[in-house]
Symmetry: C2
Subunit: 401 residues, 2 copies
């Protein structure tokens, strides 16, 4: 349950942003934002006026919403009655109303427009993204606990990776370990068309295959209809085995990548892995409030260049992506983005995943990813699992089939 | 791989609809529609003119798109250059351009509007939904294979349900069986704010808990942040155990619910289960091309009424949902909806999930769900697992803890 003071602080934060832009109210429709500002994720709309307390208009389940959300809850069977209900509450209709333009479908937008015919609509998504980028102590405590659960679940991984088994078969068994530690399953992404099922468990050259998604890797996946993540390829001796899986515990995403090998990692991948660790170390030495996100990216690029791996950093050749990290929270793709052109200063309370990775064509991918809390003086590691390359003992090798 | 003739037929179907409404072109942005009309799900936009072949503008991965999609593929690094590229191809810019209003975020819509400043934009989502409602023999073959995989995976379920284990622990083990049979994991839903992680594994009174989602059940889930699906509740003797899980194989969703009990099912639930089976039998006797969807719903309501269970049908009291079935395909929530007011005639090739269910407060839920193909003369069952209530042998009962 989200404490009322916590929700109050979030609402107040948004209201300050609204005031600066003369916005009279924001209407929240999307599930994750709804949970962030109301503490509940039921079928509801949250009306946040520029001053005073929000009102939750709820279709169902009212009883669950009432249990989780401290705001005034109004039962409604059709959201077109919101203006009428606002009138009954003695509230004036807004002249300017903010909406989540980044996630709201056109049809939902047109329906709100019809409901508020005289109101000017505007985009509230930047406010929400900026507000959510900085985590509160309440959120940070949840994310630290998630880091512990993720490390505990990953402790089973070395025993699950066996030569001869398919990526999918191993991935399924990693997933059961995650579920047993309370993983919620659904990974939520804000970006249009983005989706993720646990993450990318990729072996050997499959690590080099890119796809539609915004990240470095995709892998073969199951086919053209689900072109990312583990597929049918079977683990071979000396394969790099790349496990970029997302933990989602108590609603919060954390992002972690570890590298394994059954046997001996080819020299070029071992070298790339060392450079990735060096980039990580350099970046976390730099990270503190006031540091500019794009400067961190340039710093990473510089190290990759000097190591002779510029063509391999964050993808290969023309398919390189231009970032080295991203915010995480209730969604996997939050702010800040540690990317070219993202000239924003880091703040204490931001939680970022840093993921320096190198694609070595024909061989695979080597890299590291951890989730970090930006503190007043530096960083604190959320994903506490050790970073080392894990060498799988030879007795894990299947003798038959 | 989707055959070229299959893609041709789909494009032709859309073009016929466009012609009737004087629409010059449709621009497809959403992943699932992209896959349906192009055979690939890479980072791309598909431009479908009212006559002639489509053009795929692709950012990445070009090589994967080229391997999967037979249309002309143009590499592009920013979609704002589409009009320019169309010019180079000798195509006139559209006067009227259709877009997926039901799924396109406002920000993406505004960006298309800026790219085509002189073009009138219109809603193409109804055309796409209607076209996708009727499956081709190619699609039907995939869905039948999915039904077999789902039955095979579910054959493990009776051995997994044990008194004393939590819903989540059992669900995780059902999920591994599904993955081992090729389940892709991600369930795709078209409705705004809808999401699903495998489905609802619910025990005892948890079956009565509704939530934000459009279906009958929600369950407790993991907490306010993920308020549906299996949770921490442990299975008790004589609990109804309700397993409504979605199979997604080769991209296609099928929907199936089965009922289990460790011990003896309470009489009232047993009675409700029998009525659900009776409704199913009556409906499938009725289903054939030309039958109106809403008539089927009324028929179901009538049987529930006569059985004295009208307050329990598809939810309880004020939280009843007003449907008894829905189309399934590349997304879980397709047309037709077998619902009040949905006055549409069934056609051969439609694939629908029928799910008569009864909520008995304080006790749980009893019901059945199968996925059916509408044939020229009636129906064919896609989810071939037997419908019976499964009684779990007592020796599955944990003696300790």
């Amino acid at each position: 349950m989200t404490p009322k003071e916590e929700l109050h602080r979030r609402i107040k934060g948004l209201q300050d942003m609204m005031k600066a832009d003369e916005c009279d109210a924001v209407l929240i429709l999307q599930n994750v934002d709804l949970y962030y500002f109301s503490g509940t994720m039921q079928n509801a709309r949250l009306y946040i006026p520029v001053s005073g307390e929000p009102v939750l208009f709820c279709r169902k389940s009212i009883s669950r919403a009432a249990n989780e959300c401290p705001w005034n809850i109004i039962s409604i069977n059709n959201y077109k009655y919101i203006p009428e209900k606002l009138g009954e509450l003695g509230q004036q209709l807004p002249e300017r109303l903010g909406l989540e333009y980044d996630v709201l479908p056109v049809s939902a937008f047109l329906s709100v427009k019809k409901t508020f015919p005289k109101t000017e609509l505007l985009d509230a998504s930047n406010w929400i993204a900026d507000l959510r980028a900085t985590k509160s102590p309440f959120e940070i405590a949840i994310m630290k606990k998630a880091g512990k659960s993720m490390a505990d679940a990953f402790s089973y991984v070395p025993d699950l990776i066996k030569q001869g088994l398919s990526e999918l078969a191993i991935a399924a068994r990693v997933e059961i370990a995650l579920r047993d530690h309370g993983h919620q399953g659904c990974i939520r992404m804000r970006g249009f068309n983005q989706e993720f099922f646990y993450g990318h468990f990729l072996s050997g050259p499959n690590g080099c295959i890119s796809g539609f998604n915004d990240g470095v890797t995709a892998g073969m996946g199951m086919g053209a209809f689900f072109p990312q993540g583990p597929g049918e390829r079977r683990i071979q001796i000396n394969d790099p085995v790349y496990l970029d899986y997302v933990g989602v515990f108590d609603g919060y995403n954390i992002d972690q990548t570890r590298l394994y090998v059954v046997g001996v990692l080819p020299h070029r991948l071992k070298y790339a892995f060392q450079v990735a660790l060096e980039i990580q170390e350099t970046l976390i030495d730099q990270v503190k409030p006031g540091v500019v996100a794009s400067d961190l990216y340039e710093r990473a690029i510089g190290i990759a260049d000097r190591a002779g791996l510029s063509q391999n950093f964050m993808g290969y050749g023309s398919e390189r992506v231009k970032f080295v990290g991203h915010g995480v929270g209730l969604e996997l793709d939050e702010r800040p983005v540690i990317a070219k052109g993202f000239n924003v200063e880091l703040e204490a309370g931001m939680v970022i995943a840093l993921e320096p990775k190198f694609v070595i064509p024909g061989m695979g991918i080597a890299g590291i990813e951890n989730t970090w809390l930006v503190t007043k003086s530096g960083v604190e590691k959320i994903t506490i699992l050790p970073d080392d390359l894990t060498v799988i003992p030879y007795d894990n090798i299947l003798l038959s089939s």
